[in-house]
Symmetry: C2
Subunit: 315 residues, 2 copies
Amino acid sequence: MTNDPPAPLGELVRHEDDVLQRIAAIVGRRTIPKGEVHVGDDAAVLAPFVGEALISTDVAVLGVHLDAHLFPLEDLGFKAVASAVSDLAAMGGRPRGAVVAVGSPPGTDLEELHRGIADAAAMTGCPIVGGDLTRSHDVSVAVTVFGECPGRGAVLRSGALAGDELLVTGPLGRSAAGLRRRRAGAPLEDELVVAHRRPWPRLNEGIAARGAGAHAMMDLSDGLGIDLHRLADASGVGFELEQVPVAAGATPEEAISGGEDYELLIATDDAARLRLIFHDRGLRAPITIGHVVASKTERTYNAEEFVRRGWQHQL
Amino acid sequence: MTNDPPAPLGELVRHEDDVLQRIAAIVGRRTIPKGEVHVGDDAAVLAPFVGEALISTDVAVLGVHLDAHLFPLEDLGFKAVASAVSDLAAMGGRPRGAVVAVGSPPGTDLEELHRGIADAAAMTGCPIVGGDLTRSHDVSVAVTVFGECPGRGAVLRSGALAGDELLVTGPLGRSAAGLRRRRAGAPLEDELVVAHRRPWPRLNEGIAARGAGAHAMMDLSDGLGIDLHRLADASGVGFELEQVPVAAGATPEEAISGGEDYELLIATDDAARLRLIFHDRGLRAPITIGHVVASKTERTYNAEEFVRRGWQHQL
């Protein structure tokens, strides 16, 4: 708060507290479990977690993660929460809550931004239990989610074994195709544009895959072209990619390197059990895309080298 | 990632992963508890928490929370982590870990920033278990900390009762005095300047106060002039402030509205027990500053109205 002028007495000094109260009314949960404290104290207090605790943080910046000319501000809030919750899905976790730290310049519609945050929180069953606001040049949303893993432990990226089947939870490229369509003038309600604006974390699929004993799992946030390499790097293995399922309306390149699909990538030695559990729970059948090989350097797509490619920030 | 150019094949595409690896080497803990996963997967995995879970998030922006002309970048990282950990101290919690989401423009010395983050993590016993990096115009650090409350539950702001004694864990105004001295040319090593650059979360004091059955507690991040009102608001009470302990080298005004001292404000009906437990644990004696009264509107300092004042962001 170094460069702020000292706040004057009287009305203005209540400004931050007032804004916080309006936002708490938007993101606050109507019913807070007995004994818990969400927004309003120094820290949120939650009832004890069951099993391992999972934590992940993601920051989204207007102009970097979302084009303000093409999309409403609430989409930034929605995407920030959804991409963070997807990291819990990628471990097979169950969300317990999230906190949001928002930076914004004067005049930003913080209520619109928080409506997007609240929508994603409600749709993923992940209550917003706290937050922080600050002045900044960028509009940014840093979301931290935490979850729990009752029973069997979290599914890591590093557990893939030679011979495992590789599967994804759905066809790829919808988000990149939606962005392309929006740039070409498609309305916000276009089905693929909605896939870009409102990504859906695969929580049920992640929990089912953990229950089915999957060896390794991650979410495809940056595209199969880079994330498949990351899973292989973490597991110390290679892969033979045999097919990439392309979503209707997307191009093969969008399916490989578009990113932001948030489908799960799963490695398992018992794909039949995985399919059965998905079927029993009414989930869409996972799609086999290839298998894991022992040689770390063997990384092929239909027998040709599969080059690492996808979205990366230039830092 | 909307406005990034698609990353080219080959070297550049590994840039983000490379930076992440260098940073992980700075903030990563040398010994990770068996069964835990910190940096490197979709989410961090921690062993089960004991008792209630505490969560808090804080964002610090260069130029808002720290003057880049007066202080090194690593101070931004240190202060961001310390102020977040202080929120755990304010509940009487024990830290279990933190995640950091960093936004920065090209050319930012991310390693220096993360050295400050790592220093604060080491000094508070709060390991950095994950993070995220993004491109932005501001240099910003969003820190989310989580802790646990074994035994007796967290101490809230809302529990103060009429008749309670109000105490603080130390004299106030050191941080504001240090900033003033730095602006006047004092070296970075000046004792009060260090108090501004390297705030110390009162974790041991918070745990001791929780054990002593304190009714209410919070940290003085924005100054007694606003935080005492916040505690009274949350508890639905008033107060009679009798003295404000001013740190050596600070002014009375800095002690009241300077902020960033991170001493704890405690309300208890058994100050003798609090003092005894602090003494037994080798902690500095807490200082009585006044007491709680039933009337919400009675808020006085030596019988005159105590007006709400302190740092607030203009949002």
